[in-house]
């Protein structure tokens, strides 16, 4: 029973996080280089 509660929480949190990341990535725009922060890019 506990497994079902854990699985549900993991699925919902994973999807919420995936949306958060995708929207965040989209807000930063297509010019972003993975692993390079905006500070480093501006330098």
């Amino acid at each position: 029973m506990v497994a079902a509660y854990i699985v549900t929480a993991v699925i919902l949190l994973a999807y919420a996080f995936s949306l958060y990341r995708r929207i965040g990535k989209d807000e930063r725009g297509p010019g972003r280089v993975p692993g390079v922060s905006s500070d480093e890019r501006s330098r």
């Binding site: 999807y15 949306l19 929207i23 807000e27």
Partner: protein, 223 residues
């Protein structure tokens, strides 16, 4: 506040309330006499199942209206609802077997309700794959609308399958003619859980809709 931010807040509230539902279901809701702790899966499985089916009905309705009105907002909503419906279907298909093992003695059986729910899950996957495979937005929306309408037609069959066939799956306890056959303490927990899943559905769909809208705008700028 942007649409994505609104969706994010609704989701956050939903997730916090989900934690409260967990506490109530696990610590403050009585154990069912014959099934024991396994029955508590019901508080997650059924709300997720209702929203899996409702999401597909909404996709089908959006598809019908899209074919008449050609409004891209309807297509965007259907796309968002399909992704969230797939997430909820995954919850249904994982919590179901976890309940089935101690109660039926098996993780899975090919009975009408289980098989038709699996078919709905594959339909969701097919819908998302179709959307990814067609590049032209107009054509993609039309194909997706037709597939969504087909998916919507499957939903009443899934719900009625426990009446139409001899199945292992329990009969409906809440969505049935007459009063729900649950004691009040269990019913309150179930209603709270259903409310939370509704909030999560709305929060996820609003965020996914905002994402689709932004991508379309970026596509237009690039073109």
């Amino acid at each position: 506040m942007s649409l994505a931010q609104k969706g994010r807040w609704i989701t956050l509230v939903g997730l916090v309330l989900l934690a409260a539902v967990y506490v109530r279901a696990l610590a403050f809701t009585p154990l069912e006499r014959s099934q024991g702790p396994a029955q508590k899966i019901y508080y997650l499985h059924v709300p997720a199942a209702i929203w899996t089916e409702t999401a597909m009905i909404l996709i089908g309705l959006a598809g019908i209206f899209y074919l008449f009105l050609r409004d891209p907002r309807l297509d965007r909503f259907a796309e968002a609802s399909a992704e969230v419906g797939t997430v909820f279907a995954t919850i249904v298909l994982t919590t179901g077997p976890i309940w089935g093992k101690p109660i039926w003695g098996t993780w899975w059986t090919w009975d009408a309700r289980l098989t038709s729910t699996l078919l709905l899950f594959f339909l969701y996957l097919g819908y998302l794959l179709l959307r990814g495979a067609v590049a032209d937005p107009g054509l993609r929306a039309r194909y997706a609308a037709v597939l969504g309408i087909c998916g919507m037609c499957l939903v009443p069959f899934i719900h009625l399958s426990v009446f139409l066939f001899r199945t292992l799956h329990p009969q409906p306890i809440i969505l049935k003619p007459g009063k729900p056959s649950l004691p009040d303490s269990m019913l309150v927990t179930w209603l709270l859980s259903f409310g939370v899943f509704t909030l999560l559905y709305v929060g996820f769909v609003v965020q996914r809709y905002a994402l689709a809208q932004r991508r379309e705008e970026q596509g237009e700028i690039r073109a």
